[in-house]
């Protein structure tokens, strides 16, 4: 009997074949053809040519939009952080009874499952065009993210310290402040910085549906075929995100 060093895994090969077949099927379903891709390449060349050189002439509009995006990011992060503190505490199954944690967990899951642009559309209808809708939409997204991770962090804490504080006769507030929060504070700050970073990215986008920030300027420039201005806006957004990533990496390193 010969032994093969590497026995073939037929289930895995079958699954990969199925995936390949599915891809072919999906491509035919989506009406994707070579002719279209080839025309696209020609169009793409022309498109890139029109984007170059980036036109920074209307820099005042650009700066205004960018500042508004930053404001949206700051406000929605602060509101999201403040709201997620109680939500996270209520959703932690080791601190709250099930009748509190279950509905709160459901609410957090709801906040997370809708894309922030869709939430922004709903808020644009509810509070009108402008930055307020963007702030509200990103606050919802931040709540979903921070509260979920915060609750998970609280569920992992050691209950010994909580018991020790409780044994000294401390009330619920004392237990929270001296038994629970010190154990999760550094992770909470980490989540907050991550969310600030991601809110900054997202705040440059919500403008596409009219919720304020640079996204509105970008979309308007696109619709007017001002591709050189589009290039300028895109470069500014990328620069801003790069900067934010550098700063947040530095802060996270300093915290550790």
């Amino acid at each position: 009997m010969t032994r093969t060093a590497f026995t073939p895994n037929w289930t895995a090969r079958g699954a990969l074949l199925a995936l390949a077949l599915y891809c072919v099927f999906a491509v035919t379903q989506l009406d994707i053809s070579w002719a279209r891709i080839l025309t696209g390449f020609g169009e793409g060349g022309r498109f890139l040519a029109r984007m170059w050189p980036p036109n920074f002439e209307r820099w005042d509009t650009l700066v205004e939009g960018m500042l508004e995006s930053i404001q949206i990011a700051v406000l929605s992060s602060v509101a999201g952080i403040i709201l997620s503190l109680p939500l996270g505490l209520m959703a932690a199954r080791n601190l709250s009874p099930a009748w509190v944690s279950a509905p709160v967990r459901g609410f957090i899951a709801l906040c997370r499952s809708l894309h922030y642009v869709i939430v922004a559309i709903l808020f644009v209808k509810a509070v009108g065009f402008g930055a307020l809708a963007g702030v509200a939409a990103l606050t919802v997204a931040s709540m979903g993210f921070i509260a979920k991770l915060f609750a998970e962090a609280i569920e992992e804490i050691s209950m010994k310290q909580v018991e020790a504080v409780r044994a000294t006769g401390a009330g619920p507030a004392g237990v929270l402040l001296y038994g629970v929060l010190p154990q999760v504070a550094s992770r909470f700050v980490g989540f907050c910085i991550y969310q600030l970073d991601s809110n900054l990215r997202n705040s440059t986008l919500v403008g596409i549906v009219g919720a304020g920030g640079i996204g509105g300027t970008l979309f308007a420039a696109f619709k007017r075929f001002d591709y050189d201005f589009v290039a300028a806006i895109l470069l500014s957004i990328i620069a801003l995100i790069f900067l934010a990533e550098l700063v947040s990496a530095r802060v996270r390193k300093a915290l550790q």
Binding site: C23, L67, Q71, V74, L114, K125, V127
Partner: protein, 266 residues
Amino acid sequence: MSTSLDREWQRFTPTQRIGRWLLWLAIVAACVWAVRSIEIIPEFLADAPQQMADLLLRMWPPDLGHYRIGVHDALIETLHIATLGTVLSFTMAVPLALLTARNVCPWAPVNALANLLLVASRSVNSLVWALLFVAVFGPGALAGVLAIAFRSVGFVGKLLAEAIEETPRGPMEAMAAVGAPWGHGMLKGMWPQVQPAFWGIALFRWDINVRESAVLGLVGAGGIGVALDDAINFFHWDRVATILLAILVVVVIAEIVVTQIRKRLI
């Protein structure tokens, strides 16, 4: 003895305390600046609760009959876009990840260049990618697939490169020692080590892509977003409610599927 008892103990050094105060000051200053200069129209804020109630009333009851006519096909298209985009992103991300990983590709300039491509892909949001591809390929699912793929490359490539760099050298060296060519070493020495991470990343990104592909239609890149945009533009809020429910259900199902597969595979 008494001096040490009377001494006031403090948790932080003076520089740390000043640093903390400055940090808090900066946070408060940023909030105050943002609140004072952001443009919020008071009239809009005042009737927000009323508008919200109006919105919910118009959404209720959801027009569930519309699902079969205008939502189902778009929903399937969204899933196709998400899956094809994820597969396509892997075909681009795997070579880039190999070029980024320092233990596979020893040339530092190539590492840096591949990493730059990954960062560039990550820093452009999928909606912006969709805008660009709609301008190039015209509206439709093709632009959506490419947008999802190009946005995912950076994410997938970064995580894959990290997984590759963390693998121990032993199996690769053993393969080289028995005289296996480089390709065999990669396939039997490297691949089994990164395989769990690979499938984990694929599932994770697919889950994200299902959510993201739902909005691509807002800029014309196909999928359920187109149906959503139409319903909103015609103020068919009961249809909007149906579409939102459909998206919600699909997102939840995708999450359940991903956790189940992850449990089996990893």
